[in-house]
Amino acid sequence: MITRPPWALLLLIAALFVPALGSRFYTFLANDVVIWALFATSLNLLVGYTGLVSFGHAAYFGIGAYTAGILMKQVGVPFLLAFPAAGLMAAGFAAVFGFFCVRLTRIYFAMLTLAFAQIVWAICFKWNEVTGGEQGMPEIPYPDFAWAERVAAALPFLGSYRTSEYFYFLTLVLVGLCLWILRRIVGSPFGRMLTTIRENPERAEFIGVNVRRYELAAFVLAGAFAGLAGGLFGIFNRGVFPDFAYWTKSAEVLIMTLLGGMGTFFGPALGALVLLWLNQQILSHTQYWPAILGAILIVLLFVFPGGIAGATLALARRLGWRSARA
């Protein structure tokens, strides 16, 4: 039996060497990609696996960012506590909002997720005392890396790194862990139940699946991981701003998910990589990135609805490399 090479693990290890390339820019981009990969994968739990199209996923991203930001900057809580708090807070809001959302279907569901996201945005935008209002909260402190510097000093072959690079390694480890957990969830009986809901909610009901309860659970999990991504992003971005929760952010992550391919687990992460890289490349030549993104999106919708991953798998199947897998 030939086991498939652990691509994900190899990629993770490869990613560890990005700072060694010596360019701050590459590290910055990689860090961006890794965080958005988590954000997009969390959304895919809802869209790709459960079939619930949310237009307000950025709300939980924003909540996570603000929670971690407020705790670390204003209350002085260490990252070790602020990070899980971001996820828990986002999960809490997702539970409340999700409770109402899952009672609706399709377009109404999408509209309500949008409404809740805008509510979150409006609060962040106006609650100056707590969230800094329109100006947001700049200068979120990095986690304390003194321990890492001591380790690096003791093992000189590892090289020494800047704070931003330590943060990159931390992000890589945390996101890797989150993605591993999400992978387990998706490959579990719970994950299978979610796909039955996506495929045929009526039939799912009639195999004993309490559709609403499962949808709520998916909603909360997706929100929690989006919150964790947000917590990381606030630090990476050197500031937390209300537009983290604005509906256009939700659209961005949705496009990313579609681009990479909603039908696979790593599709969204791939979408994050491609989209952010393209964004950088194109912005350096022209300011009309939105139009190009729109055009790419249209091509995707008409020609490659399965995204990059979907198209690649279809090609691989055509060439006889893999047997058909659902």
Partner: protein
């Protein structure tokens, strides 16, 4: 206790905003009612209507009556654009999942906003009021520009015209039928494809007209597309997706809540309209005057 004149003035400004919103949102509601799709690009059509009106005014000048021609021309141009988009691209997505249709309209938002930026740049533009309606009158101590009065009267006029078309003409009957059951309509020999294109054009026309007519009152800025689509969504959700009187009611409510919100709880006025939208979706998802979807 705020000064009654001031309250009245706020109410009037809320009403004016509501009439604009009604005009624009009615197009969105029409498209949703028949095509069952939420057109994110409706805000973009509104914006293009405004830019086109500006452009026509630049070309035709500001002589008497010119503004009206410019506005009409702008609305027709937008309608034409809508028709082309529907005919060439959008109609191929009807068979696909709703998500694809929604994302397509969002792709349009991205493209059209850059098109506008490319042609007209990012500075603020404005159009002066048509000379025939310059000046204002005083009502109960509040200043009401004639142009705003025109809009206040236009709103209900359009509503009535709409009602007339929908209920007393053959086209209107077809539209209402398509909203209820498009398959049967096709079986009955109606060219449903052409109907859809027509409805999409009509909806876009309304959005563009709203944008054109708003130019004397509001400056044209980038970002007016995303701002408007959210407002239109709120209105249509509150009133009822696909219900045309609902859109009217929703616009009125939105206008008043926003203007009084700013008055009494300025910090949470934005919040309140979204909260209202969420409340409607939770309690009565099909809106105040809408009907549950099949």
């Amino acid at each position: 206790m705020p000064d009654p004149t001031f309250v009245f003035a706020q109410s009037l400004s809320g009403l004016t905003a509501a009439m604009f919103l009604f005009l624009i949102a009615s197009g969105l509601s029409l498209i949703f009612g028949v095509l069952r799709v939420l057109n994110f690009a409706h805000g973009s059509f509104y914006m293009l209507g405004a830019y086109a009106a500006y452009q026509f005014v630049q070309w035709f000048g500001t002589g008497p009556g010119r503004f009206w021609w410019a506005a009409l021309g702008a609305a027709l141009a937008v309608a034409l654009l809508g028709g082309l988009v529907e005919r060439l691209l959008f109609r191929h997505l009807y068979a696909k999942e709703e998500l694809y249709q929604l994302l397509f309209t969002y792709a349009l938002v991205l493209i059209l906003s850059d098109v506008a930026k490319g042609i007209w740049g990012t500075q603020q533009l404005s159009v002066s009021r048509p000379p025939g309606l310059a000046g204002s009158l005083t009502v109960f101590g509040a200043t009401l520009p004639y142009y705003n009065l025109f809009i206040l009267l236009l709103g209900p006029t359009i509503a009535l015209a709409f009602w007339f078309v929908l209920h007393r003409t053959r086209a209107g009957r077809l539209i209402r039928a398509a909203a209820l059951d498009r398959e049967t309509l096709g079986v009955l020999g109606v060219n449903v494809k052409r109907l859809y294109t027509g409805v999409f054009m009509a909806g876009s026309f309304l959005g563009g007209l709203g944008g054109a007519l708003v130019t004397p009152v509001k400056t044209i800025v980038p970002g007016m597309d995303t701002e408007m689509i959210v407002e239109a969504f709120i209105v249509v959700v509150i009133g009822g997706l696909g219900s045309f009187w609902g859109t009217f009611l929703g616009a009125l409510i939105y206008g008043q809540v926003l203007s009084f919100g700013i008055l009494f709880i300025p910090r949470f006025s934005i919040f309140s309209v979204f909260a209202l939208m969420a409340a409607v979706l939770i309690i009565r998802p099909w809106g105040l005057l809408g009907r549950p979807l099949k």
